[in-house]
């Protein structure tokens, strides 16, 4: 069965952002209080630390129809829990390498370090990521067809 996409309607991606509570979530708040706009296609999930992000969550998001997943954490060396983002960095490097290896567009996943002071970077990162994912179009390779479009 071929799913016809409405060509007239502009493609709006669905993007999940995992933000650590101490740096990136605060950075997102700063972007807000500085009134720096970025598209509404990204929704943020607050986690205590980037090391809390399980690969299962990322795959789950793609399964349920996300078109991109971005993970934001404190800059290496600045982790509130001292070492969390170092582990996250290794895990995500390997996981994203594997997704690429399976032929899933690597541009759909990203890790970005955003500090609590980098509201502007947060907004710019989100805009750029949304732009990239919009160009890629809908995620078809890692989607569960039982979940509705």
């Amino acid at each position: 069965m071929q799913i016809e996409e409405n060509k007239n309607e502009e493609f709006k991606p669905c993007i999940v952002a995992f933000c650590c509570n101490w740096c990136s979530y605060a950075g997102a708040d700063l972007a807000g209080s500085s009134r720096l706009t970025y598209p509404a296609d990204v929704k943020i999930i607050r986690v205590p630390c980037s090391c809390r992000v399980n690969p299962l969550f990322i795959l789950r998001a793609f399964q349920r129809g996300a078109d991109g997943v971005i993970i934001c954490g404190c800059h290496p060396g600045d982790c509130h829990y001292t070492t969390g983002n170092y582990y996250a960095r290794r895990r995500m490097t390997l996981l994203f390498g594997m997704l690429d290896y399976l032929g899933i567009e690597r541009e759909r996943t990203r890790v970005e370090w955003v500090s609590a002071a980098e509201g502007a970077k947060f907004a710019a990162t989100m805009s750029d990521f949304i732009d990239t994912v919009t160009k890629l179009g809908r995620n078809r390779k890692l989607r569960d067809l039982r979940c509705k479009e």
Partner: protein, 661 residues
């Protein structure tokens, strides 16, 4: 199924101007479990909170979602309000529709749609929330101070004065630290010994203070409020209870050729010695590497002479275990020996000394009784060159990258004290920048230039060499744009300070983080400068970064206040959002303990009963008082036995589902 209430805040026009709050509340009503939804102008206000409390009671809510500003702003407020209405505070979730929605979007339709999705995610999460109770742990009312220099002494005194027991562990045979070696102190030029030694006596005499001198911390276990520390007491070979401190033994010792560490090796001491006259405790110590009796069983002279029979050659090292509620690190610093800089000829020329060595040469209680003599021939130096920034502020592997902070001031001090004693001395100071921020500091330095006529030369020394009995100093004078050579009698190097080498292993034991220079890092550079990020560990003095004495003393006091604040509590409330292990599926593989930054995970052999098995297995156990809730273990665990309360796998996946659907 939970009974959930949803409260949408207008935040005046902050939210309501871009988000259709009524539509959000309406959409929430259709969500599973939602029994009540409303909107209000200011949820955080008194009346807003009343609406929340009333609804909890009226509708028997078991879960609450507030769509408002960032949880970083008012999560605590709403949790408190819910608690006062009888709801567990951890049954409250916040949907951030201000910072992450209304403030960043302009289109009402887009912002409302996003706010609804964010509300749905929070509702989905709260469906899976479980009431959490913050655990409590007991506080041991005793503090440990590691290091007995001025920082440690001051911290211990302040804690003891507040009525708490405090122990000092000092690795040297006496407390006093570097300050005991100093002559006078800037900017007031009062004598270091005169202000330090009374404090040393006070702290030793204080009923709440116990001093473990000649001892080291060898193991630290536990967590804030309840540390268990092992202290190794090195043998001094003296029975402390019998010794009167008369010092007769030190005079009779035949092994008189040992370099005296306290005087930077400029004179000699015996194998049995008291470090200096005002040492606390005033007890001799036997240097096991030098003592004939300990080396080959022959001599025993000190034992024969001791009327108190206090000499005990059989003394063994002892391990003392003690529990503490708080630990203060005050391990201090060392001045580096600039041996790697051949251009300063420190290795080859005896008349090139470091400033700490110069300090001893000037000191009335020092090896020369305060008469300035140059080390090579005992002559009084007529021309002295001081070189600043030796080994500091560098970029190559030889130097420290930081400014050592105290050198500008003590060099001015050295110059003035020398001129005071011997006004005919020529003094030249090579400097790069003069850094004197501090009360009366710049005035102090200006005095050296204007009143004492000290010659400050802007430039650095390139080469120091000996010629015809003089120490030749070749450097540049950048103001005159000249290369100059000064024939000096003595050169004093203001070499960099570095953290005491014992700090590194201590940092590992305490799981307290350190920077690349081995200085301890503070919990927040500005707002929590005397606390380590590890709860219950506090920082005092140079171990945190270069400091002068006034700064060290004020930091020591600040650390003491933090300790007192902690010890004043009977119980500590823990963060309940911590890791928990489902032991029935745990493999006991130790991977989670490997990534835990706090050592919160231990393993126990436990009988596991499930419908499938009944056996004794090695399983992980989380110490809730130590766990800070980062979640590193939860991802490392392949069987997902580890989960994080308040941020469980299922909760986060429920949020993902709500967002993606």
């Amino acid at each position: 199924m939970q009974r959930i209430g949803v409260f949408v805040c207008w935040c005046g026009s902050n939210i309501a101007a871009t988000v259709d709050v009524k539509a959000v509340a309406e959409a929430a009503k259709g969500q599973p479990g939602v029994v009540f939804a409303t909107d209000y102008q200011y949820m955080c206000s008194e009346s807003g909170q009343t609406i929340l409390k009333d609804a909890i009671k009226e509708y028997g809510l078991t879960g609450v979602v507030i769509c408002s500003c960032s949880p970083r702003m008012h999560e605590a407020t709403f949790r408190k309000a819910a608690e006062s209405a009888g709801l567990n505070p951890y049954m409250v979730e916040i949907a951030n529709i201000r910072e992450q929605c209304s403030w960043i979007h302009k289109d009402m339709e887009v912002a409302t749609e996003k706010a609804i999705i964010l509300a749905k995610a929070a509702i989905a999460k709260v469906q899976l929330n479980k009431p959490l109770v913050a655990g409590e742990s007991e506080v041991v009312k005793r503090a440990l101070v590691i290091g007995g220099g001025i920082a440690g002494i001051q911290t211990a005194l302040d804690i003891a004065e507040a009525g708490y027991k405090v122990d000092i562990v000092e690795k040297q045979p006496t407390i006093g630290g570097k300050m005991a070696q100093l002559d006078k102190t800037f900017p007031t030029l009062d004598c270091a010994a005169c202000i330090l030694t009374p404090k040393m006596v006070d702290v030793a005499a204080h009923e709440n203070v116990t001093i473990y001198s000649y001892s080291e911390v060898v193991d630290v276990k536990g967590f804030v409020g309840n540390f268990t520390v092992q202290i190794k007491k090195k043998p001094r070979y003296i029975n402390e209870n019998l010794c009167t401190g008369c010092g007769a033994c030190t005079e009779k010792c035949p092994m008189k050729k040992q370099p005296n560490e306290f005087n930077m090796g400029f004179d000699k001491r015996g194998a049995i010695y008291i470090p200096f006259a005002q040492a606390v405790p005033k007890l001799p110590v036997i240097d096991a590497d030098a003592c004939l009796m300990l080396k080959n069983g022959k001599c025993g002279l000190c034992s024969k002479i001791c009327e108190a029979h206090a000499i005990d050659y059989t003394q063994k090292e002892e391990i003392i275990e003690e529990r503490y509620g708080a630990i203060v690190v005050a391990t201090g610093f060392n001045q580096i020996k600039p041996t790697q800089f051949e251009e300063y000829a420190y290795n080859t020329c005896p008349d090139v000394v470091t400033s700490l060595e110069y300090e001893r040469l000037m000191n009335a209680a020092g090896p020369t009784k305060g008469h300035l003599q140059r080390p090579s021939d005992g002559q009084r130096p007529k021309t002295i060159v001081f070189i600043q920034c030796v080994g500091s502020r560098g970029d190559s592997c030889r130097e420290k990258s930081y400014c050592s902070k105290i050198c500008c001031m003590y060099t001015a001090k050295h110059a003035m004290l020398t001129k005071d004693h011997y006004p005919d001395t020529d003094i030249h100071v090579f400097y790069i920048d003069i850094r004197t921020p501090g009360k009366n500091f710049d005035e102090f330095y200006r005095r050296a230039v204007e009143q004492y006529g000290v010659d400050y030369i802007k430039g650095m020394v390139g080469k120091v060499y000996e010629e015809n009995g003089k120490v030749m100093v070749q450097g540049s004078d950048l103001i005159d744009n000249k290369q100059i050579t000064i024939a000096a009698d003595m050169v004093v190097l203001a070499s960099a300070v570095e953290p005491d080498p014992s700090a590194r292993s201590l940092g590992t034991m305490l799981t307290a983080s350190m920077d690349t220079n081995d200085f301890f890092t503070e919990a927040h550079a500005k707002l929590r400068p005397v606390e380590s990020p590890t709860a219950g560990v506090f920082l005092s003095g140079m171990c945190q970064g270069p400091k002068d004495i006034p700064e060290t003393v004020s930091q020591a006091g600040a650390a003491a206040v933090k300790v007192i604040g902690l010890l004043a509590k009977d119980k500590l409330k823990n963060n309940p959002c911590v890791a928990a292990c489902n032991q029935s599926v745990c493999n006991g593989c130790s991977q989670c303990a490997n990534v835990c930054p706090y050592g919160a995970i231990t393993y126990v052999e436990k009988e596991i009963r499930t419908p499938e098995v009944r056996e004794v297995r090695r399983v992980a156990e989380v110490n809730e008082a130590v766990c800070q809730g980062c979640g590193a273990c939860t991802v490392t665990c392949p069987s997902s036995a580890m989960d994080l309360k308040g941020f469980t796998n299922r909760q986060i996946m429920a949020e993902v589902d709500a967002i993606c659907r």
